[in-house]
């Protein structure tokens, strides 16, 4: 009996000792969250920190990870932060019609079932096309800086 008791109290003491040594997940979460930028969400499971949210650039993403790693009790960091797309205020550059007409003709040359027209930056497509060719044609037209692609094609 005595041995069992002794063993049990030793186990309790060990648990308390380890618990005192490694901070609880909740405490880590609070500490890391306090140091991170507002848009960074922090979750902690058994000392593993997961970062989520949208930040402005790669530097911010790396910085968030460094902060989390430096926190006491953190075993590892999963960095799931994503970079916010730039909502540029610069106006979209649209090709002028003469350039567009020439480039659209070049792109459409190998799609004989398609009729194209260009007016005020809008490329209009008429006729018919196969599904696989449609993707290729759309890819080729989209890099020509059109204002819009008005696709009226019948997909076969």
């Amino acid at each position: 009996m005595k041995t069992t008791k002794l063993f049990m109290s030793a186990a309790v003491a060990a648990t308390l000792f380890f618990a005192a040594c490694s901070p609880k997940d909740g405490d880590i979460q609070t500490a890391v969250k306090a140091k991170e930028a507002a848009e960074v969400s922090v979750a902690v499971t058994k000392g593993e920190v997961t970062l989520t949210g949208e930040v402005a650039d790669e530097a911010e993403k790396a910085k968030a990870e460094t902060i989390a790693k430096a926190e006491k009790g953190v075993k590892s960091v999963v960095n799931n932060l994503t970079i916010k797309p730039v909502l540029s205020s610069a106006p979209v550059v649209i090709a002028d019609d003469s350039t567009l007409i020439k480039n659209v003709a070049d792109a459409a040359k190998d799609f004989p079932t398609v009729q194209t027209s260009v007016k005020d930056g809008v490329v209009t497509l008429k006729g018919e096309i196969s599904k696989s060719s449609l993707v290729k044609l759309m890819q080729q037209l989209s890099v020509l800086k059109p204002k819009k692609i008005d696709n009226q094609l019948t997909v076969k």
């Binding site: 994503t82 797309p85 909502l87 003709a105 070049d106 449609l134 890819q139 692609i149 094609l153």
Partner: protein, 140 residues
């Protein structure tokens, strides 16, 4: 804002794929997504996502301008026509006279890529001229 919501899955995919110089702009009822993909597979993936949101691209409310980055050190390209020979022209444009042909699958030399659409090439026979870049696949 509505367009950005409609194509959110696409902009999210572009962000996740690490598209560089990514710009998302809305102007006069059209959403413009510009950027550069690391490889052709990434670009094709984005077009798959686009096709899921707008089957057959009939909406006319998105211009997805994503190019594939080409390593400046690359000097060879493979002809990736469906099956036919690729025309080599005197100048950049289908209105230019044909000065030679490159066979389907042939690997030719890239001389100049300053024009995005038409690349200056040289065949193994020494013919030099412009080919439509979409039919050329840079070789690493």
């Amino acid at each position: 804002m509505a367009l950005q919501d409609k194509y959110k899955a696409l902009t999210d995919a572009a962000t996740a794929a690490g598209i560089s110089d990514l710009a998302v702009r809305e102007q006069d009822g059209v959403l413009y997504i510009d950027g550069t993909a690391a490889d052709g597979a990434t670009k094709d993936h984005l077009w798959d996502v686009y096709n899921q949101i707008d089957p057959n691209f009939a909406g006319g409310d998105l211009v997805l301008n994503v190019n594939v980055a080409v390593d400046a050190a690359v000097t060879q390209a493979k002809v990736i026509t469906e099956s036919s020979n690729l025309n080599i022209r005197k100048g950049p444009g289908t209105d230019q006279p044909i000065v030679g042909k490159a066979a389907h699958g042939e690997v030719i030399t890239l001389v100049n890529r300053s024009n995005d659409l038409w690349w200056l090439v040289r065949t193994n026979d020494g013919e030099e001229g412009y080919c439509y870049a979409k039919y050329l696949e840079p070789q690493a």
